[in-house]
Every structure is written in C-alpha cells, then in structure tokens.
Symmetry: C2
Amino acid sequence: MTQINRRSLLAGSALAAAALPVAALAKAPPAGKQAAGLYRYKLGDYEMTALYDGVWNRAIDDKFVRNVAFPQVQQALADSFLPTDKLPIPFTTLLVNTGARLVLLDTGTAGQIPGAASGSMPENLAAAGIAPAAIDTIVISHFHPDHINGIKTKDDELVFPNAEILVPAPEWAYWMDDAKLSTAPQALKGNFLNVRRVFKNVKVQQFEPGKEVAPGVTSIAAYGHTPGHTAFAVASGSQSMLVLSDVTSHPWLFLRNPEWQPAFDMDGSLAVDTRKHLLDRAAADRMLVQGYHFPFPASGHVTKSGANYDFVPVMWQLAI
Amino acid sequence: MTQINRRSLLAGSALAAAALPVAALAKAPPAGKQAAGLYRYKLGDYEMTALYDGVWNRAIDDKFVRNVAFPQVQQALADSFLPTDKLPIPFTTLLVNTGARLVLLDTGTAGQIPGAASGSMPENLAAAGIAPAAIDTIVISHFHPDHINGIKTKDDELVFPNAEILVPAPEWAYWMDDAKLSTAPQALKGNFLNVRRVFKNVKVQQFEPGKEVAPGVTSIAAYGHTPGHTAFAVASGSQSMLVLSDVTSHPWLFLRNPEWQPAFDMDGSLAVDTRKHLLDRAAADRMLVQGYHFPFPASGHVTKSGANYDFVPVMWQLAI
C-alpha cells in the first residue's frame, strides 16, 4: 500500500503546481462563499427550519471556564479539532411553521456582535423563501445580544415588522431593573444597556416560564445561564423535541463536561443543575434536541455515559 | 423547574390544537423539502464542494456484519439513534475546483439504486452554480453502483459530457474479466453486469493507484472493499486531506468498530487492515477526511482511542 504523509503530499502538490498550464481556468470559478445554511425537518405536522446566523471566534483565556484549569479546557478543544486560543461559537435560530403560524425562536445577531462573522440569518431565511414580514411570533429565550439583537437593525428598525415578541417575565424583570443596572459589575453594564436599546419603543408580551407561548411550544424555566433563561419543548402530533437554548454552549466542551462553568453562565452552579436536569431528561427520553450554539444544523440527540453526556448530530436527510 | 415529559408535552399540544383558529394559514407555506445539500471549504488554493446525493435506507439482517452477532450491531445502531432494522447509507461526492480544473471524485447514484432516495447530486451541483458540462475530470474510487452510476443517465447518455473519466486499473481488470464474471457468485454477477453497462461505449483512462490522477490529487491503493478500491490524498499549498472513499462505511458503526466486517467489503480481512492503516494515519496526522458514506457534509476528523476510532464532524463554517 502507498505510504502517505504530509511530506509526500506536499511534494506531490508542488510537482503538480509546476506542471499546471499557466493560463487555463476552470469552466466554473470558485464560489468563494459558503452554501446557504438552512436545514429542514418535520416534527409531527410542523415544519422546522434551522437557520444559521454565523459564528463568533471568541478569544478565550484562563477565565473562560471558572472551575477548571485552562490546560484542561485547551485539551478538550484540541481533542475536538478546535483552536485552543479561541472558541468558535456558532449561532443557529429555529423557525417553527405550525401551518397556521411562523414562530421564530430567538433572532440571531443581526451582525451586531463585534468581531463575530455572523448576521446571515435573514439571508438564510430568504434562501428558505420566507419574507421577514411573514414571521408571526418571536419567542426570546434570554437577553444576551446574540439572541435578541436580530430584533432590530443597527438603525433601530424592526427586522420582523409583523411579529409579536414574547419574552420571559423573569428575564425582563432582571434586565429592566434600574437598581440592578446601577449595582452591576462593569462587565455586565453593557448588556443592561443593550437590552434597553433593543427593546426601546418595542412592544413585548412577557410570559411566565412553564406556559405555552405558541401552539405546541411550551416554555421551560432553565435558570442559571441568565436569571430568566428559558428552554422550550415543541410538540406536534405524536412527536416532541427540546430546544435547549443556552442550557449548554458548545457540546464538545459542555456536554462532555457538564460540571464546567463557562464565564457566560451568570450563576454557574445553578446552570450546572439546570443542565444536568434537562440533559438527563433528553437522554432518558431519547428526545431530539436543538442547541443554539451547537454546530449547524445544531440538531441531534444526547447520550449519557456515567456523569457525562455526548451529542450525536442528526444525519442530514434528503427528504423531510 | 417545570417537569417535562412526553405525556405533558402531548397534552400541551392537544390543548393548543383545540384553540387554533380553523381557517388561519401561515403567510409562508411549508417548503415540504430539504434545503440544497452542498457544503464548501478551502484546501489551500483549492475550493472543495461536498455534494449530497441522498440516502439508501438499506434493510439489514444478521448477515450484514459477518463477524459480529446482530444484536451487537443493533445496539450500536440504537446508540447512534439510527433504526435497528435498516442502515441509512448516505452518499456524498466531492468536487475539487483547482482553479484550473473541476475534478469530481465519484459520481453518485443518478437515482439508479433501487429503493434508495438518492440522485440529488446533479440538482445540488446546479444549486452550486456549476453546469455538468463544466466538469473536466471524473475520478472513480471503485466500481460499486453508488459510485459509478452517476456517469450515465438511465438512457445511457453521459451526464458530464466533457469529462475525462479515470478509473483504477486493478478495479477495471477485475470487473472486466469475463472469467471472473462466469465464476462469480450469483450475488456479485449483477455488479459485473452493471459495470459493463455503465462503461459500454465510454472512454476511460486507467490509472495505477499511487499515482497522481489530477493536479494535487494522488490515488492511494486501499484494497479490500473491492479488489481495486482506491482512496485519495488531496493537497494544495500547505494543506492536505484524505478522501476515504469506502475505506469505512457509516462511521458510527465502522470507525467505532474497525474490526467489524460489513457484507459490502469483498475481502473483509484485507479491508480491516486497510481501514486501520489509513485511519491510523489520519488520526496521527490530524488530517481532514471526507468519507463517501459519512453523514453529510461527510467531512471531519478521526480520533483514535485504544483500538477504536471515532469521527468528529467538521463545524459548518459561515465563510470558507
């Protein structure tokens, strides 16, 4: 059998390059861009569409996971073929077409996360053949900018002009509390102000977690990541699934190590409890899950082995 | 925290359905179909496009893996959230745009696998903006129908009219040998005849595995799956990758259990040796791999733990 290694491959490549005719061009130029990031599946009578918004390659250091030494985090990143000095954090929103209503769970970034290569959700929605004006309902999981900034353009225009906007009541209570803003640590103040910017002159309806927020979409209190962070169960016909929101960020890190407390989680200990509770349920019931920061299409199943979990991505289907 | 389970989800759904206005329809109808299956990435100066051709949900029984009891196979399927009575076998071809040439590695099924939901590669090629006539070179890994049938339509027209077609010499020698056809077991005769149908009146060039077959694309003898089965190394600039062809079929089964001998592998023992040799290399060098029967986009990395391997799917990138 031919022995291959990097050296022989590169030698082969150099030879090939030398032999290339100079002026020849392929009959199709390189596209230079990624294909549309949308993925559809059925849940009972509902049609679900995962819409990719992009990725934030966030620089990380020894403060990124509070309760674990950084080399251990870097090893987990290397084991997952990810860079060890930054975490690629993808964003994927989920659109539920109930047949009667278009319900969007979180809105993406609108390209308003400094340093992130994101904001492609509206483009992917267009590729799915859906106009922003067709969205009936937006349901927000929590008030971090990558989940709410897509509500408005940079010029404060509503992106989805006809959509009612539903937000978790405890999330609203926390971030709109001027007393909490005034005593917040400096690192949090920006988020308080961003929440105020996004929701200024915007009509919202608050919901209590545990209630149904749209037909077949039930909110689930999942506190810890933020004070009012909410997951969702979606059910149609005999099928149901769990939308994890930010119960866990990148699965290769935080499903495999559910005790790790990322700096994103405002109450790290409560977030660990929430994570284990919902992941136990997902694993035991073999439920389909969708994770906002899971690799696109961000859909799959959770397994449990001992005290840890793992993620089995869904197989891309040809028909839905 | 709200307790959720299947029963409460379904109850919620039933209530929701009862409350729905009867005549209301969403402003966008369900699409009813999957999004285009194409995924682009850069390898040095080359632009790679993974093109999804579909999936064959192949019924399996205790003959499917020769050297393992069927319940063990079924457990591995269940652990991967796959059905236990059939294996979903996806097909993904790989297009290499070198800038000067469009090189297609294997051709998909052309919808000519009875019972398979496949043949979407040309549609996805069109979605990528590439005409079939633009393909300069087709390189075939081996002569199973899901790899060669895409060369011709059912009416024996060439699908890629301008492409030169390169095939492994040992594969040609085996399947075109009338003596081997006449003594072949009944189950293999159909494949001998299909090979003759596909290549009838088609001009091909044979290559010896180990040779460069297109600029930067080097063939690698990977015998066992078939007598002349071939993998490929692709290199451009400082980057290289390994195209596994059918060195391993579904990774959740045969990367995790490299000693398992699927009925597809004509020489099961030799195929195991080849599998371990190439997977060892891929894991040690942390090479990007593409697997023809891996879940779309069929691209990622191989890890090794003890005697077994695992697959880490690539993270979908927004920019390429």
